[in-house]
Assembly symmetry: C2
Homo-oligomer: 327 residues x 2
């Protein structure tokens, strides 16, 4: 069993105990969707990263557990509310809370999860408790800002690559970064190492999201687990489309815009045409390079973390696994 799996199993077991505790709270209807959501599973990547970062500096993993629960609760809270806003119909192969229960349940139980996450994060006994709570709150607010930018971009025709990178930084990368940094802060690691872990997480997060965009268009449908081309069909302003719109000239640009504006179209035809233009513009290669660029920065940060190799090699392999995924 590798390091990730060991910590994943440790966390999953502890989380099950915590879910048991939450299930004793009333009113039941408030906490049922919380438990449903936590039981949906998922990769638990954020809490595991937090625990791995902690373990680079200290071995008494229990001490970092409340923060790991907090991060997982907060992440799930954002999914509950995002799924209402995005009108999502599937989440990790389950019905999202707003469909399984109701919109109201998803709103109110989401609110409770967000507050419950504060109950956990403030349980961390640490000399750094002010720094912990400030980082946590700052991150939580940035995630809301990222979600708003994402919604704004849907209605905008003027989104630059920098706008996009800023948005995914807020919406996705910062929570990976903060997870790693929190682990370090709770372990009372040196400030420089905590910052390196943050930077590593942030760049890994950007690479991860760009990879997600790439898989949505160029992935293998059987492995990816969801329909390929969803982003193309919905005109989602991903790195791929934004870059294509920037590079396309004359006929290509005209054709791209025609397809972006079409209301009635064959789904497969749209995907085929847009992918053809993407290929002509070498969008796959450009995105791949961008992913490698951010992944390399993440690796550089990792290298500089001032702990023995045996304490940090687990994190390297997790980072590599994250990027090797095809789903």
């Amino acid at each position: 069993m590798n390091h990730f799996e060991t910590i994943f199993d440790f966390f999953t077991k502890k989380l099950a105990g915590e879910i048991e505790e939450i299930s004793k709270r009333v009113p039941e209807k408030l906490y049922e969707p919380v438990i449903y959501s936590l039981n949906m599973g998922g990769k638990r990547i954020r809490p595991v990263l937090l625990l791995m970062a902690y373990q680079m500096f200290r071995s008494d993993l229990e001490k970092a557990l409340p923060a790991a629960f907090a991060i997982e609760l907060f992440h799930n809270f954002t999914l509950l509310h995002d799924d209402i806003m995005d009108n999502a119909h599937l989440r990790r192969n389950f019905k999202p809370v707003h469909i399984e229960y109701s919109n109201n349940a998803a709103i109110l139980s989401g609110d409770a999860m967000s507050i419950l996450s504060y109950e956990y994060i403030t349980k961390c006994e640490s000399v750094n408790s002010k720094e912990i709570i400030d980082l946590y709150t700052n991150t939580a607010l940035k995630i809301c800002e990222g979600q708003q930018f994402d919604m704004d971009f849907e209605a905008s025709n003027n989104v630059s690559v920098d706008d996009y990178l800023n948005m995914i930084g807020l919406k996705t990368a910062i929570l990976l970064a903060t997870s790693l940094k929190l682990g370090a802060i709770i372990a009372e690691a040196p400030v420089e190492d905590a910052q390196l872990l943050f930077d590593m997480g942030y760049n890994l997060g950007l690479a991860f999201q760009l990879q997600d965009d790439l898989l949505d268009t160029f992935g293998n449908q059987d492995i990816f687990g969801k329909t390929i081309g969803g982003d193309i069909v919905s005109n989602k302003k991903t790195f791929l489309l934004i870059t294509a719109l920037k590079l396309a000239k004359h006929d290509q640009l005209t054709e791209l815009n025609v397809w972006l504006q079409k209301i009635n179209f064959s789904r497969d035809e749209k995907i085929e045409v847009v992918k053809k233009i993407f290929s002509e513009l070498k969008i796959f290669e450009i995105t791949q390079k961008k992913i490698e660029y951010y992944f390399q920065i993440a690796l550089n940060c990792w290298e500089k973390i001032n702990v023995d190799l045996e304490r940090k090699e687990g994190l390297l392999s997790v980072a590599k696994n994250l990027m090797d995924r095809q789903n």
Copy 2:
């Protein structure tokens, strides 16, 4: 100018400055509804109570301001989400955020307000900061629980007076109680006084909500500012209806149940019949007594607070004003 007005003006002025700061944040679309909601006004009763409690023990009011902002932000966040859940069409004579903007805006900007309130509450520099944040989080979660109970009760035919009092305790009274207690804790007041203020606020909150129920049925429409009888028309399980269902016998109970189950009816006729039954059962008098009962407990707590009369008489007059209101 009385004590309440002095502090109200102080708070309102400081809040305006804070709104100015919030308006500089981006994305605009996230923070616009926050500002819209804060600018709707309202009595600012919670932050003013917090500041009044603080001023019983210390004079440097600025120190308690972040907590006062936090409480006002949190209260407004709950209104944003409650108004979606209750499908409300009017809030303080303005369109609620979900109508003026959109459901998504009310969800996400509400989330941001909730987190922003944590930014403020954690700004309180105090030796009691752990106690402050724990009380705050505990209260926030209880308010969610109260809202869920309230929604549960709509679908239940088995709500007791105790259930109801517990629900309004969670949904309404606890935030008044916590506002007062936070003021005391931030001022580093003796533990006994902080607890007396909490108990005073809680009982005042119960009296206040029961008064609200009473006005909805027996108020003067011109002064009350909203249509009388809304609770009767919607079968809202208030103290009045629950008590009537408990006391009604034979024909009265049958008639009451007939009207509760009617789907098509004349609004005015339903209000008239139900009010007639309420009168026969002396519901007005019973509720009035219950209000006086809780108000008296609040006064007893106030009396025991161990500070000079001149430092606490302002709070007494606010409490009395709250109960004298007709809207």
